[in-house]
Amino acid sequence: MADHSSHDPLAGIPFDLVPPSGAYGAAGEASVTVSTVETPFIALVVARNGFAASVAGRLGRAFGLEIADRAGAAMGAASTVVGTGPGRFLVLSKTEPDLAGTLRALLGAEAAITEQDDAFVTFDLAGDKVPDLLAKGALIDLDPRVFLPGHAATTVIAHVGVTLWRVHESGWRLLVARSYEASFTRFLVASGAEFGLRLENGTAGRG
């Protein structure tokens, strides 16, 4: 039995608070899980004019990944590099607390680096029904036959700016500006309730 009814899974939950961890919507085993538990270190790399290819090459060699200057996600065990615009890359790391410092040392004058650790909430979505859930708010085609593992997009979902990529067959990761956490979580819960959704909240930002 779900903790929150399928009729109105958000009943009684204030608009400005992130809905609490728990099961929402359809009873039984959850078809979609949403977790914000993992909080990777994040930095933005913007290649200076004419250095996009060089920066992609340096990032690839340093992290052991195949990186091109395009909208895609290159994923390794400890780090991920996502293209968000020409010459622009978001770097995520599980293991580098001073990620921005590491990148400055690596890229020198070829790129501008900004630390983004607390800028985004990381939503990890899992389950075969995730594309059906996201389709309720997305403007792009997330059909699993079209949007493949390693594909990435910066777009809007439910009118909220999102950078997302498909991590593997049934896993998707979404970065959303932290101030939108409550409203974007509400979208996920409301849209995922028909499938049965389990929400696992992390602790609020590193502060």
């Binding site: 004019n49 004419g50 909208a71 615009g85 792009i140 777009t155």
Partner: protein, 90 residues
Amino acid sequence: MRIPCPYCGERDAHEFAYLGDATVTRPDPAAADAAQAFHDYVYLRDNPAGAHQEWWYHANGCRQWLRVARDTRTHAIAAATSARVSGEPA
């Protein structure tokens, strides 16, 4: 209407902001006729029925300016290219 962004791929027009005619050039503010030239540049825009070159900004995507060739009667888009040529000063 969908705009084929060279970086992002085909995207809904709602992700973009429209600036307007991509063929006009900002006048020289130091010229003797600058007031009249700026009046023409800012206010006296053509409203063509048919082929048009326009600036579109991909605000909810790659955040790049695009030059888009659009038919104003059909919304058919013939081309969309990056406004910034690689290697040019930003």
